[in-house]
Symmetry: C2
Subunit: 184 residues, 2 copies
Amino acid sequence: MSLPHAILTALLEKPSSGLELTRRFDRSIGFFWAATHQQIYRELGKLEQSGLIRAIPGPPAQGRRKEYEVLPDGREELAAWVARSDEPRPLRDPLALRLRAAAMVGVGEGRLGAEVQRHLALHTAQLAAYRAMEQRQFPGGRRESVEARLQHLVLQAGIEMERFWTGWLEQVEAVVSELEAESS
Amino acid sequence: MSLPHAILTALLEKPSSGLELTRRFDRSIGFFWAATHQQIYRELGKLEQSGLIRAIPGPPAQGRRKEYEVLPDGREELAAWVARSDEPRPLRDPLALRLRAAAMVGVGEGRLGAEVQRHLALHTAQLAAYRAMEQRQFPGGRRESVEARLQHLVLQAGIEMERFWTGWLEQVEAVVSELEAESS
DNA sequence: CGGAGCATGTAAGCGGTTACATGATTTC
DNA sequence: GAAATCATGTAACCGCTTACATGCTCCG
């Protein structure tokens, strides 16, 4: 039940239309809870029906865009959710699984090595993107507000997570390419 | 579509009954692809029907346990899967979401701090468990076989992942407890 | 005015979770 | 022989993914 709360958070940060939300999910919140536009529209409908958000009546709409904002009940629900407790979600990583499978059936003709390199490139790019975001949003030096410090922590999670991936994938790459050389 | 392949891998490592598989998932493979016994029994049924595994006829069963083993087609399917390509799964972490939400609605009366500490304890315990496994399964010094090196890499992923979590959660704990002190 | 793309949806299907069911074996 | 627990399932639900649908606006 995290998606509705992710949306409430995003709407508190800035009232938005469905499409805007989708874009912002792709750019920031989605790094920790991805969502497609279909999910978002559906969830916006539910949240509106429950009286947690509402469509801003204001200007009769440019095009057909509906802007939503959080109602007091929504803010309350979100505060209650923050205080709740959850088990950490079990990790799910097919690539690690592939390595274990490869231990049983062999690394297949360079395909696995290529896949590892592809993932390494993806995570390297993501790491660079996060670091750029950090430079832009949290230029060091001056004291950060409470909100900024919390948001910075979340971004740091992204950075350190990607550092973990790139570091590990480099190790994997070394071992796999060595094994591929042996088996040829 | 990773669960069937996780099961094939586990069965190649050692033919097992449904319950045994469930236990082994809890202990090792499940760290990278969790599964409940319901999923496993269902999937075993499908795999048997597709002719990728079979119930070992052997001893008419102690109790009612059915042991499964991988058939040649199953091994082939797994090898093909290893060579396949997959996008990395998007991360989903409610705790990071909670921090961002807290930036909007405030850290609530120590509840969030307690949750952070609870997660820190869980990840610390998991880290210790992985390290113990590493000591036991990969005692340094002697040269490792191909299979062992790959399996070691997977375990190292677990270790480094938990190191990431504990490191990050310690940072979070420091910030959150400071904020809670301020707001009281 | 016709085509590109913007913006908001609907529908079907699938994997995973939770709750319940059933028989067989072991333990007291 | 009753209770616990082992072992294998079935059923319902729910969130997420994928594919498709619809109307509107902007631009050449």
